[in-house]
Amino acid sequence: MTQDTSGTTTPMGFGRMHRKEDARFIRGRGTYVDDVRLPGMLHGAILRSPHAHARILSVDASAAEAYPGVRAVITGATLETLNLAWMPTLSADVQAVLATDKVRFQGQEVAFVVAEDPYTARDAVELIDVGYEPLEPVVDARRALDADAPVIRDDLEGRTGNHIFDWEAGDRAQTDAIFERAEVTVAQDMLYPRVHPAPLETCGAVADFDKVTGKLTVWCPTQAPHAHRTLYALVAGLPEHKIRVISPDIGGGFGGKVGIYPGYVCAIVGSIVTGRPVKWMEDRSENLMSTAFARDYHMRGEIAATRDGRILALRVKVVADHGAFNGTAQPTKFPAGFFGVFTGSYDIEAAHCEVTGVYTNKAPGGVAYACSFRITEAVYLVERMIDVLACELDADPAELRMRNLIRPERFPYTSPTGWEYDSGDYPRALRLALDMAGYDKLRAEQAERRRGDGPQLGIGISFFTEAVGAGPRRHMDILGLGMADGAELRVHPTGKAVLRVSCQSQGQGHETTFAQIVAAELGIPPDDVEVVHGDTDQTPFGLGTYGSRSTPVSGAATAIVARKVRERARLVAAAMLEASPQDLEWSVSETGGRWSVQGSAGHGRSIQEIAMAAHSNLELPEGVEGHLDAVTVYNPPNLTYPFGAYVCVVEVDPRTGQVKVRRFVAVDDCGVRINPMIVEGQIHGGLADGVGMALMQLMAFDEDGNHLGASFMDYLLPTALECPSWELGETVTPSPHHPIGAKGVGESATVGSPAAVVNAVLDALRPYGVRHADMPLTPANVWSALRGSPLRTDLAIT
């Protein structure tokens, strides 16, 4: 049902084209971090805590140190002598690299063994004897603030509880006043449960410290190589110019590869201590237990409305479970990320939200898994609340949404919490999605099925608006590093080009897309543009790829640096043509880019001819340096606001609780599409994520804080059988402030789809009196919901 995504030609600019990076991947010749092999390389393995909360009484590593093939054992005590036992998190907290005083979550790093081969390292890990005194864990986030709750972070001076922060947005008084006089109010508690992005490649690093030159080279799959370099300089005290971070091919990131993990620091210390390169690769259980989780928002939403369905106000309270260390990777001023856009796509008079962050005995993290800095939680909240209101009013959820969507003429639209949405035509997208789905026919089929007791049809709608492409840097920084990105473009004498960018692909196809941007701006075929990324020694500074930033920020930087080169080329062309630069006009045709004398198309020079001349002995006017190159830093004036309308159709068997996704219609508007094939691929992946989170991905903890989703046997990810054939549609509303009118799209579908799936399941269950149940809607959960008591999906089923 989807459009043909196969590209067959190479466009001179935007359009479908095959990916340049595929040539190596289909031959098995990518270079992922675990493929990096250096002469004399040693291997590291981590000993992890079996307890969620325990005091460390003793660590005896002598047997491990004596084991043949072991070259070093590093413990928290070792790191303390180097002042490296703790490292800063991306949220101005600290995190233990290797535990010294206590362990605070199951799977926390306790010791690091370096050995000649990975099997030996793991053998030796088993020989380390750690004495623990188990402590009561805090597992239930709702109880973390109780007066008698154990204090997790007693390492922090003066800490007497588990409270991290309070954050609010909107106008409380105005919102409360509307609620006081509203005709209808509804409230709903809901959990966006803890999930893990689980990229197929786990995390790892190869560290190589050269004692002679003092240079440290770290290969690791980081989405933000430059931020890593700066942080390593701050953590390890090494001079920043002596650190090179190389992010090779990454086997999926989804936000889980933004931060620095203890294993990376251990590999670095291991290399410094042994004088040899050290590789550390985590296994899948380590990945699921210790690296950045996502979500874990316990939310209460309330809507005030008129009886005829006009939404007046929205009020939200959140308890945010941040785990044992506050390690969310998000802009400093936004401790709850961009949750503040929780009014979503609706024109609501007033809104207020409060978010309270708490520590629990779980892994740190919080912003990961394609969430656009918590917008997925915000979208889920408002989209569930709309359906709860529809239920209360006995209204059609599609009509209720249409009634309250922000109208096209209201753009640029300032939300009640202060976000300026750049552009949109929401009713058009929703109408298209409903038409594609055949909404009325589906409702008729649903009515028909409701007369029987067989599988019930559920139709779920979600309309999302995202805010992606952070900065501007005056508002948005991470640890003081402003969220802007650099680009450098050099056109060689023969007209081939190299573009260097600060973002880093994890599969998004930057080598193709960014080459296409250069092609569109300079008229150089995409195949003639090499895109270099992921190496701090070879690329300009920038904050990297997450929060759907690459196209909004680095894509803009690419367009602008190409325009700078084009202007340089104009001056050279003017000298070549003996004309005034103002008299030249630029054109890009299928054959390429060209500066020509206005009104005399034949009298011009191609970009390739200009490039050669720019490097030749051609006499250039005073002030024109020659060569064709430029650098730029793009500081976005605003975020971009992609949006979309999703319709999910499910069949739910009330006898078993089994849910089958029959259809999924996704209409996305991400502004101008550079390579539609790649955009559609991004959407496909996000839709599968939504199905997984909504129906399968259970990451619960038992009362002792044991992680119950620590392997792919337990943490179920969607396969080809759970996913339908996605039906995509599009509208195009360009961003008015982005140089090429593009908006980010990498996370749109992950943000928008979970609510559609959940709304669909609950729509199917509506005749049974079920108003809400939390994700994941596993058969057991649906079955329990049908019997009046949906499961608490954050805690073990007891």
Binding site: G28, G30, G681, Q682, G685, S711, T719, L721
Partner: protein
């Protein structure tokens, strides 16, 4: 213990620990890093290779079990400089993004087409359902396999046509 395994047509004799997994044998001993490792539990299928023409998850096969057997990895798909139809299909249909699951997916797809030259969407989805892809939502992987099937059918038809032409 000493084993001899034929990988992509070439025999390799190595001394290995009995506990060594096939995936590590391929990656660490033979430097064939196209085979990836993604879980420990046979769930993800990033490590799928052919063992005597049958797809196996090489994280759950001991290298010593392959003594005297033939293994085909992603590096063995391309023959005489020509990409396999499956490889072409994945690039043609954007059947990969990060590329990590791709070798395993392609080897399973190759096995499927060897056994069913014209699989429908349901058969393809069922066949790859023991493997995970976190990027593509499977849509374009299914299309890539269909493309490869069509491509091979087209070539076969062209080949048959030529032979028939010769006969007449």
């Amino acid at each position: 213990m000493q084993i001899t395994v034929t990988v992509n047509g070439q025999p390799y004799t190595r001394d290995v620990e009995p506990r060594l997994l096939l995936v590590h044998f391929l990656r660490d001993h033979l430097a064939l890093t196209g085979t990836h490792w993604g879980c420990d539990t046979s769930n993800c299928g990033a490590c799928v290779v052919h063992l005597d023409a049958t797809p196996v998850k090489s994280c759950t096969v001991l290298a010593v079990m392959c003594d005297g057997h033939e293994v085909t990895t992603v590096e063995g798909l391309e023959r005489d400089g020509e990409l396999d139809a499956v490889q072409k299909g994945f690039a043609e249909c954007h059947g990969l993004q990060c590329g990590f699951c791709t070798p395993g997916m392609m080897l399973t797809a190759r096995w499927l087409l060897d056994n069913d030259p014209d699989p429908d969407e349901g058969r393809i989805r069922e066949t790859i359902s023991g493997q995970l892809c976190r990027c593509t939502g499977y849509e374009n992987i299914v299309r890539a396999v269909r493309w490869a099937a069509g491509h091979e059918a087209g070539r076969a038809a062209a080949g048959e046509g030529a032979r028939e032409g010769t006969r007449t």
